[in-house]
Symmetry: C2
Subunit: 242 residues, 2 copies
């Protein structure tokens, strides 16, 4: 399984993904699920993958190759808007789905690759989308400023309570990390390292990117202080009257 | 869907269940999922139901009727241990499953009724079980002092962080209510009223039972103070160092 979150704020965007992949309970591995296309001053694109690793790697591989082809076709490097980028990602998802899908039906799973795609292209505000395995997609709005994929339920309540469009980037990053900590504690199919990007609106460059590996001292401190803080809040909540 | 939680503590037990039932998105209703068998000074049994309402009501109905039959067969009123109670619940689940199951296969769902069952019988410590729709069951232990059914993921992280066997009954009740608040905010298939029982070890009587209906002032205060407290904890967490 997987857990990915992307948040669209007034001040920018926050992206985070776990790194656990598994084929059954006895076959775990670690692969980053975060892909960046960046040309400083012009565009920043971040893709967070979920689904079958073979499927998501093939889609990313196709986007990369098409981006290097130089045959005059539109690519992630030349698209003028995020909506056009989503059309290109959709084309790649459908191309791989058509190629691999029929061979996967027999094994029960079928083709399964979906993405959170966010970023900013020069001339546009930052935008955030969720691409389904069928190649259709939705865009985040200020009533729902975040999108998740994978094991989303454990980490959803804390995001719902804390994050609004005007929450700061720093606070949002901490909240997203706590959301990951909650999910990893509760579900074996989500695991460290966590990849995190905090993107400042209109910077058109990735300046804050960090990987939190198993045992990361900041992550552990965050987790410990969060647990202690939460227990303190409980002690201070009003007593139940019978 | 449903959300139910039961917790086994050194000082007693806490039970809570939501009341939403639905057959499709356009057919919602409200039914209590909490059933109590109590003979003060002798036994307290609490059942929390999940699954198809027809199935769980039939199982409870059968347990009640068999309890009133007076034909010398063991019943929930005469069983000597909680393990024996579980055998009786299992018999009832399987009897209804055999009766209704074949008629439900065609509609896709099949027979589906499961229960959290906890309580105390005179001469035993309090015990807590989870009964599956197949009639087999597990018992909670001090490494896992709580059991959930239904939409369990949203509310699990907060319980994992706060509740240990030595947590007080009052604190556990507050934590369970916050866990419900988190779930209800995130999932339409779980809804008020919430039924809550706090059982004090060796009291062999239900003395603290309360229903929280939509708009309950204590529940709203708890939810508001929890949200404010959590946001405060975030502000005080260490800043991310890049």
């Amino acid at each position: 399984m997987t857990y990915c979150v992307a948040v669209l704020l007034e001040s920018g965007m926050v992206f985070a993904s776990d790194s656990r992949t598994n084929a059954g309970l006895d076959d775990f591995a670690s692969f980053s699920k975060m892909t960046v296309f960046e040309r400083a001053g012009d565009r920043v694109l971040v893709l967070l993958s979920s689904g079958s690793l073979a499927g998501t790697q093939a889609v990313i591989g196709l986007l990369r190759q098409r981006g290097e082809a130089g045959d005059g076709q539109a690519t992630v490097w030349t698209a003028r808007t995020m909506f056009d980028v989503m059309g290109l990602v959709s084309d790649a998802v459908r191309a791989i789905g058509q190629r691999d899908g029929p061979y996967l039906e027999g094994s029960g799973g079928g083709f399964n690759a979906s993405f959170l795609v966010g970023g900013q292209l020069k001339g546009e505000p930052p935008r955030l989308f969720r691409m389904y395995a069928e190649g259709n997609f939705i865009e985040a709005s200020d009533t729902t400023p975040y999108l998740q994929t994978g094991e989303a339920k454990y980490g959803k309540p804390i995001i719902d309570r804390v994050i609004h469009p005007d929450t700061t980037l720093g606070e949002t990053a901490k909240c997203v990390l706590v959301s990951f900590d909650s999910t990893i504690r509760s579900n074996l199919s989500v695991g460290m390292p966590i990849d995190l990007i905090v993107y400042k609106r209109d910077s058109l460059a990735i300046t804050h990117r960090r990987r939190f590996a198993e045992g990361d001292s900041f992550f552990r401190q965050l987790s410990d202080e969060w647990s202690a803080g939460v227990r303190q809040v409980f002690r201070e909540l009003p007593e139940l009257v019978w």
